[in-house]
């Protein structure tokens, strides 16, 4: 990982009275150790808003709505940031529907916006979690039929086909997924549901990475599950595990766009 990216996840001493202001992609944090309290404020840059060119302004100390406080003791503390994947499954759409011909396979590099956990470390002890902030405010989405589906996040960054298309963003973790069409018919899909809770995050030279997943499609009659490896992905020298999975390793699933959604969203 390059220096600027790797330093982001190294614990930093929070000197009393000074403000530490790490920036992770569109997420700007302000941290201060005042008395026996840790003060934290967060701001998000709206990347879709052309008017938001600069980082959000630091809130004034007296702005009680902006700052949150935690009692952490008056002795010196260190603050560690840890990347985390979203706590719900994410649904990713390729830039346009993709059809995989029988016998072919395709690799996608899916960029998933991370959340940043703020941890407090004192006297070299165990890190204590302070809070978790999203780097991007993700929209809700729904996976499954409307009477018994699952609440997910919609990821609007498109799934990329090649490594060199990936943006160098500190707030994105790349999930490599390979799809093999082992059926005798073409496979067309419009979206991919990734259960990110069971994935770890690894630091590479230029990006954060998750475990690699493989999906083998054998026809509509067979369940299409993504099997994730438990080892680091073979890209970008990503070997160092920087975040454990939220849940024990499980299989994830992929689905094609449901026709039923069209019937319920229109008259």
């Amino acid at each position: 990982m390059n220096d600027a990216l790797s330093e982001m996840w190294v614990p930093q001493t929070l000197e009393p009275g000074k403000i530490h202001a790490p920036r992770i992609g569109p997420l700007q944090l302000w941290l201060a150790h005042r008395g026996d309290e840790l003060h934290l404020a967060a701001g998000l840059i709206d990347e879709t808003d052309a008017r938001a060119e600069a980082a959000p302004a630091q809130p004034a100390e007296a702005d009680v709505a902006a700052w949150r406080r935690w009692v952490c003791g008056s002795r010196p503390i260190q603050i560690a940031l840890e990347p985390r994947l979203p706590p719900r499954p994410v649904i990713v759409r390729p830039a346009m529907p993709v059809t995989v011909l029988p016998g072919e396979e395709v690799a996608f590099f899916v960029s998933i916006p991370i959340r940043v956990a703020v941890l407090c470390v004192r006297d070299g002890g165990e890190p204590r979690e302070v809070c978790e902030e999203p780097s991007v405010l993700l929209s809700n989405s729904w996976f499954g039929p409307p009477i018994e589906g699952e609440l997910c996040y919609a990821v609007k960054t498109h799934a990329r086909r090649h490594l060199d298309e990936l943006r160098h963003d500190a707030h994105l973790a790349v999930c490599p997924v390979t799809i093999q069409n082992a059926d005798s018919h073409s496979l067309t899909f419009e979206r991919l549901c990734l259960r990110t809770q069971s994935l770890g995050i690894y630091a590479g030279t230029h990006h954060l990475w998750t475990n690699r997943g493989t999906l083998v499609y054998r026809g509509d009659d067979h369940p299409a599950n993504i099997t994730f490896e438990t080892t680091p992905p073979p890209y970008d020298r990503a070997r160092r595990l920087v975040a454990e999975p939220r849940k024990p390793h499980k299989q994830s699933r992929m689905m094609r766009a449901f026709g039923t959604f069209k019937s319920i969203s229109g008259f």
Partner: protein
């Protein structure tokens, strides 16, 4: 006093039997209830468990009472006969309660709603607080207690608002006739797309409904997770207003001209420079 002592000596064995029956019978009923609660919790809804417990309590209680009366030397045939006649009389007198009771059984078996669901019955909307054999109790959002007899509930139409995990919020929007329909549709699509509480799947519904008296009428239908009702409504309404203002899309509203009398001219209205 001597008579009481003699009676006690004559019946002490029967009395001991009664005491033993009560000591063993009552905890046994409690134990059966506990087992039913534990086993039923895995298989039935909370209302079903409650019903099962009541059946066990009153059923076994009746059996124990009959056994005790038999031990005391009462003629059970006569008592049961009298109970049958009394039952018919009580049945006539308590027709409404029995109807509620049977309706309650149907509601418990059909399970159209559960405790903590949001129910709309007529003009009343509230959280289901309790489901009993005779009535369903609702707690309205302004914290009032509403009791609805099961019989009237089973006869009427009610809406379980939170039965399914996602719902659609329909918002009627009218814009001025001068506006470009495609522009309005594009702006509404972007508003729904950018709101984090609006689900992107199922896709939002945007419908050009028609030509109103003074507005082009649109319907924006956004899907949301059922717990986000208030947050979505508050946020998307604000976003529609601010985004329409920014895009210069006009909301039409009724205009009135005021006359002071039948023969007088209307008040003159004159445009003046704001500066």
């Amino acid at each position: 006093m001597q008579g009481l002592i003699d009676w006690f000596y004559a019946h002490h064995i029967a009395l001991a039997r009664l005491v033993v029956l009560v000591i063993i019978g009552v905890p046994l009923i409690g134990l059966a209830e506990k087992i039913a609660r534990r086993v039923g919790a895995k298989k039935f809804s909370p209302q079903g468990v409650m019903l099962l417990r009541k059946l066990i309590r009153y059923g076994l209680g009746t059996v124990l009472a009959v056994v005790l009366l038999g031990e005391m030397g009462f003629n059970l045939t006569a008592i049961l006969g009298a109970a049958g006649i009394a039952g018919v009389a009580i049945g006539f007198a308590a027709q409404t309660s029995l109807s509620n009771l049977i309706s309650g059984l149907f509601l418990i078996l059909e399970k159209p709603f559960h405790v903590d669901d949001v129910l709309q019955v007529g003009e009343t909307t509230g959280l289901v607080h309790e489901i009993d054999l005779l009535s369903v109790k609702l707690r309205t959002f302004d914290n009032r207690f509403v009791r609805i007899p099961n019989e009237s509930l089973i006869k009427s139409t009610f809406i379980n608002i939170t039965r399914f995990p996602i719902r659609r919020m329909d918002i009627d929007i009218g814009v001025a006739y001068k506006e470009d329909v495609d522009h309005v549709v594009r702006v509404l699509t972007e508003i729904a797309d950018q709101n984090p509480y609006a689900l992107d799947e199922p896709a939002p519904l945007i419908l050009f409904k028609g030509f109103g008296d003074s507005a082009l009428e649109f319907l924006l239908g956004v899907w949301f997770e059922k717990t986000d009702t208030m947050t979505l409504r508050n946020s998307i309404m604000k976003e529609i207003k601010s985004r329409f203002d920014r895009e210069g899309i006009e909301f039409p509203f009724p205009h009135r001209t005021l006359y002071v009398g039948a023969n007088s001219a209307p008040f003159p209205v004159r445009m003046v420079d704001a500066t």
